[in-house]
Symmetry: none
Subunit: 419 residues, 2 copies
């Protein structure tokens, strides 16, 4: 089964927005053995939309669009495609009703804005794709030859929900015969460079990948190892991927922290839960990022107590009990200060584990001895403190992201005895 994607919006042609919707849809469809034959991005104009969709319909007869469904006047997807199908627009009473429901559920009073009600204008004979994450309904339009266009909103959260809940079941129901299956399995590593990881894997004598493709995907979180299988039955692919992943994982050793899209923060929370310990954070240059990473995981409240954002040195002293002499002798960015911060967070919040970050995120503040990117990290588990100093690469944001990731990695390794 082949589908074409048409993503709509002037901002895509001007380069203001990077089209993540297209990549997400492509991955989701590929997992169900559905091939994207082509992706096209066109502007907001009715003519451009109609031209782009017409060509895609002629080639594959199956088209998904994203964008141009909102309440403002630059959203022309529905009328442009309705005209292509020779359909008039009419107000759908069910959509009007659900717009009113949503308006009330958000606690809003007074009349719904007229522009909002415009979203109830639907092409004749169209099916509605329910939007449980926003107001603009999606549209399914099909002609008498079975050629169809599904119109999704451009807001990623709404698009993803609508695709999964309303569109994908409809597409799968139409599929006939055996699909080509693309499946992948990811092993996540952190704290090891891509080249060092590839050397370790190459050194495993007789490592059999069973025809699976292996890709190294580096990023600030670490290096992901992605195994991909294509073309065989789903069941066979899943077994082979699991088997080869089991062979690959030992080569990555303690650097591997999880599979799939496991977040290192979730792995750390699970380790804390397993050890029956609660954690408190102390953050200087990351300013709350580490706490935000941990609290991003639902259910983190059983092991995360909270923390202190000690951006100013006075706060390091007053709230964390860092000694002024330590700051004077070693500076705010030092392993000594990091160790006292970790211990201070643990004590101040009554936790078993304290973890701290202090560093120079840049762009200013570097010195020859402590260049931008210098970060000191410490973890205190029941009074035993481990720490290290490192230089993180990247801009301010990336230095901070890598610092939070390294702090999580240190806690994980202290807890599992590999630090």
């Amino acid at each position: 089964m082949h589908i074409e994607l048409v993503t709509i919006g002037d901002e895509l042609l001007l380069g203001f927005t990077i089209d993540t919707n297209g990549a997400w849809l492509a991955r989701e469809l590929a997992q169900h053995g559905i091939t994207i034959a082509r992706r096209t991005s066109v502007g907001d104009g009715a003519g451009e939309i109609a031209d782009g969709v017409r060509g895609a319909l002629e080639r594959t007869g199956a088209v998904i669009t994203t964008g141009g469904l909102g309440p403002t006047s630059d959203d022309l997807t529905k009328p442009a495609i309705a005209q292509l199908f020779g359909r008039a627009m009419r107000e759908d009473p069910d959509v009007v009703e659900s717009l009113h429901q949503r308006w009330k559920s958000l606690g809003r009073t007074g009349e719904i804005p007229r522009s909002n009600l415009q979203q109830a204008q639907i092409p004749e004979g169209a099916g509605i794709l329910a939007n449980n994450h926003g107001t603009a309904p999606g549209i399914w339009l099909e002609d008498d030859r079975g050629r169809w266009v599904a119109m999704l909103p451009g807001v990623p959260r709404e698009m993803r929900g609508m695709f999964t809940e309303a569109l994908l079941p409809r597409i799968l129901a139409r599929r006939v015969g055996e699909p080509t299956v693309v499946r992948s399995h990811t092993i996540r590593t952190t704290g090891i460079a891509e080249s060092a990881l590839s050397d370790r894997i190459r050194n495993v004598a007789g490592l059999d990948l069973e025809g699976l493709a292996l890709a190294y995907l580096p990023g600030w979180e670490g290096v992901d190892l992605r195994l991909t299988s294509r073309g065989t039955s789903d069941e066979d692919a899943v077994t082979r991927l699991a088997r080869v992943a089991d062979r690959l994982r030992p080569a990555a050793g303690a650097y591997a922290y999880g599979d799939g899209n496991t977040d290192l923060a979730a792995a750390v929370l699970a380790a804390l839960r397993g050890a029956g310990k609660r954690i408190a954070v102390a953050e200087s240059c990351t300013g709350g990022m580490l706490g935000a990473r941990l609290t991003a995981i639902p259910g983190s409240s059983d092991v995360l107590l909270g923390g202190i954002i000690a951006y100013h040195n006075d706060v390091k002293v007053a709230a964390l009990g860092v000694r002024p002499e330590t700051l004077a002798a070693h500076g705010a960015v030092s392993e000594e200060t990091a160790r006292e911060m970790a211990a201070g967070a643990r004590r101040a919040l009554g936790a078993e584990v304290g973890v701290s970050i202090t560093g120079i995120a840049g762009p200013d503040g570097g010195t020859p001895e402590k260049p931008v990117g210098t970060v000191c990290i410490a973890a205190d588990v029941d009074g035993v403190v481990k720490s290290f100093r490192a230089i993180m690469i990247g801009d301010r944001q990336e230095v901070r992201q890598r610092s939070a990731q390294s702090a999580l990695s240190l806690v994980r390794r202290v807890l599992n005895g590999t630090a």
Copy 2:
């Protein structure tokens, strides 16, 4: 001048790679007044490449491709497009020579791999676009009607270098007459829905957009208003954009917090600096996100002291001085608790401003009275406290992002007297 982009690679259709090349090229070309009429992504097959490029050539006669120029056998861009132009492939002695040079300059010995030399195969009559950042040369192919295709590599670093150094000068040299200049200006708003904002703007009697396009771009930060000018001289565009933006801004009122890519956190830091006040944060459900937003801005240390991540209620009491009776009577997610948290952060850190967030980020923890997304936010400026309760839409991450943004917005509005 209109150009179409064709990005080539199976990985784009499988969604493994997000097409950042297309967005980058679009931005660069727009700056020179060149409009991207359409972007297409096709797979690695010779037929797909030829089909995609043929359509683009017929529509605009000016096409840039990226990808499929490397030494591996799945790189079919050159032969596929050569065939489209009715040209044979031949080995280019200059390219052979430069491949040898590069081989030696990298300190490699022995024969160049044959796969590497294949990169010297060039369509007859083609121009070479020098690659100073890799081995694959770019190709310029033009027919007798002046229609052209420029083929760039897919590796972003090589593509960017080649575009800037070799392709852009060639394109600008072809341009005849006055270029169409595309310029835009963005006004950022927060705290108002897209539909309400559009109603306010529509209600401005006699609002003259002077032919500029106005787009509403909603996201969790708020709604951006983007004005775009096309077709006149650069100077005129800049003046017109500024003039229309000045007319539009009052319609957005206190919801408008900045222009261009201003971060609300930066606007808040500037307002604090202007008022000579320092700030401390108190975060529950956002767990450090608000602190991370503020510390993301370089130079924030002069007005941001730090904060308390009070995820557990014990921390709210012990570190922020929230009264247990308040928690018992109103719950952790209440304006009353938020107000005591803000006041507590201000006092605990010795700041003039305290800001707090407490809420139910989900997916669990909601009740009929306080559904998931319920968030209470307070700001204490010199002992005067303002607070509100709202329901944030979206998943856990988005509820948290919107909460941090709303807290920044409250601080800004308290400081400028519009809260």
